[in-house]
Symmetry: C2
Subunit: 128 residues, 2 copies
């Protein structure tokens, strides 16, 4: 199965990159609709999935009701708001994880790790 670069796929990718944010499917749908009003939300879902499998975007594993997608594929960590669930990048060097002791691995084959910092974002601090 080979990927086709359809118009909708191209716009979805472009809008996510342009946003420089970590959008959910429906947030991205709202933006994409401005350029392509007849696009379906299902198409956005399908393409986010496909694009992340293809490695063109990243699917975030941070909790929250909705899945979020990252325009930046390079390994990096995140800081997120415990109030509004917004996610931002964390500019911080990552240390290697050779240091995980064997008896902590519990028989897992380790494929990666991430650091997630939780906090309250500037906007939500203002609202209080």
């Amino acid at each position: 199965m080979q990927l086709r670069m359809t118009n909708q796929r191209e716009i979805i990718l472009r809008e996510l990159r342009k946003s420089r944010q970590h959008l959910s499917a429906d947030e991205l749908y709202e933006r994409v609709k401005k350029t392509m009003p007849r696009i379906s939300l299902a198409t956005v879902y399908r393409n986010l999935e496909i694009l992340s499998e293809a490695g063109l975007i990243a699917k975030l594993e941070i909790s929250g009701r909705q899945k979020r997608f990252d325009y930046d594929v390079v390994d990096h960590d995140h800081i997120y708001c415990v109030v509004c669930h917004r996610i931002d990048n964390l500019e911080m060097k990552r240390q290697s994880f050779e240091e995980i002791p064997d008896d902590s691995r519990r028989g897992y084959s380790i494929t990666g790790y991430r650091v997630e910092v939780a906090g309250i974002c500037p906007e939500c601090k203002k609202k209080k």
Copy 2:
């Protein structure tokens, strides 16, 4: 509003602790039903929410379709399986996060952080 320790609440708490796992609401429901067959799934959801607000259990922020709950309230990190989404504890000392440089904080007030190690669990390795 004060908490009442009802029978269902007690059993939910006991079963989660007994499991020593990071169960989702419906997994816990299946276990609790063995002791209390007429309990409703809604009660399990409601109580997991209430118990985690009360600090008796912890709501995990790791992604996956379903929310998962932790019998252990003490700060610790997790390792999870990218295939089956099972979660286990990571026995590893946590280093302090004073080291987050100010310009990485992006205006957030930091409330905590966690390290999540991803991997493939022993069971899923076998299945391949």
